[in-house]
């Protein structure tokens, strides 16, 4: 399993197919019972080198999963590459039910579908919202602010 070190923290780089088995083994054998975080990053506009180990092809999206072990007092991070033309990833719901809301949020914000998730629907935006806000090609949506009508300077 390719691994890197990032600012003192261990990061593993499973592929999408290896992901569920790896998390299951980590839960059952290595006591990483808690999945604390599941989020995604869109590397479309990333201007620095990607810091991936050899043999891992850099894709547009990356799913980042944080695991925690109470007994070993350790954290582990997993980064899974997800290509832009096939934004799907196996769901970790059967291993860690606590990722249900987290995966829905990633779907809502990035458009990455999770196979095997019981109820993949938008969670933060209204149901009929179009677009995936946290993608880099989605604008912030700022309206230009014009300061008109200031009569007295304070």
């Amino acid at each position: 399993m390719p691994a890197t070190e990032s600012r003192g923290q261990t990061v593993l780089h499973p592929s999408r197919d290896e992901l569920v088995k790896l998390v299951l083994d980590l839960r059952d054998d290595e006591s990483f019972l808690v999945c604390v975080d599941l989020t995604a990053v869109d590397y479309l506009a990333y201007s620095a080198p990607r810091a991936l180990p050899d043999g891992i092809a850099a894709e547009r999206f990356e799913i980042v999963i944080g695991l925690l072990s109470h007994t070993r007092k350790e954290r582990l991070r997993l980064r899974v590459q997800v290509p832009a033309d096939d934004p799907t990833c196996p769901s970790l719901f059967d291993v860690h039910p606590g990722v249900e809301a987290l995966e829905r949020e990633v779907f809502d914000m990035f458009g990455i579908r999770f196979d095997g998730h019981p109820d993949l629907s938008r969670i933060l935006m209204p149901e009929d919202w179009e677009g995936y806000p946290l993608r880099k090609d989605y604008p912030v949506g700022a309206i230009p602010v014009q300061f008109k009508g200031i009569t007295d300077a304070r």
Partner: protein, 183 residues
Amino acid sequence: MGFSWDMDKGLEGLDHNFITGKLEDLVKWSRARSSWPATFGLACCALEMMGAGGAHYDLARFGMEVFRASPRQADIMIVAGRVSQKMAPVLRQIHDQMMEPKWVISMGVCASTGGMFNNYALVQGVDQIVPVDVYAPGCPPGPETLIHSINTLHELIQSGELTRRRESTGRGAGVQLEETAPT
């Protein structure tokens, strides 16, 4: 003394003479003194609003410590916090359920203009959805600023200025506070 009352216009339809003038003053006085707020605390401003109801800043002296959960029983809607795209229809629905006369205080910069969050997720000012009578700036406005905005609203109600302003803008009175308490 003749007396005619065009009831469709409410108090404004009264044929004004000495007695009805005093009656109108009485009604406006009681409206100002007993306006109950609807609970519409959304985010951080809600904590300051609850703080205004607490012991140090005591909204009860203005007759407003009873935050009514049911909009049918409330007079003022204090929009305390940021209004997201999903919350906007709910805000409109609650405002529609309130009975006339009703007033809206937009508390905080997020409710007044979208605040520091100029992005896709927030409605940039609740005056796009409901007519606002008083804007209270601050992030969050301290309880003293909120009380100042409430007092301003009460003065406007009592003097009748509020109705005049509403008629001139066609929507809410849109009073912006000129000074705020230091916060």
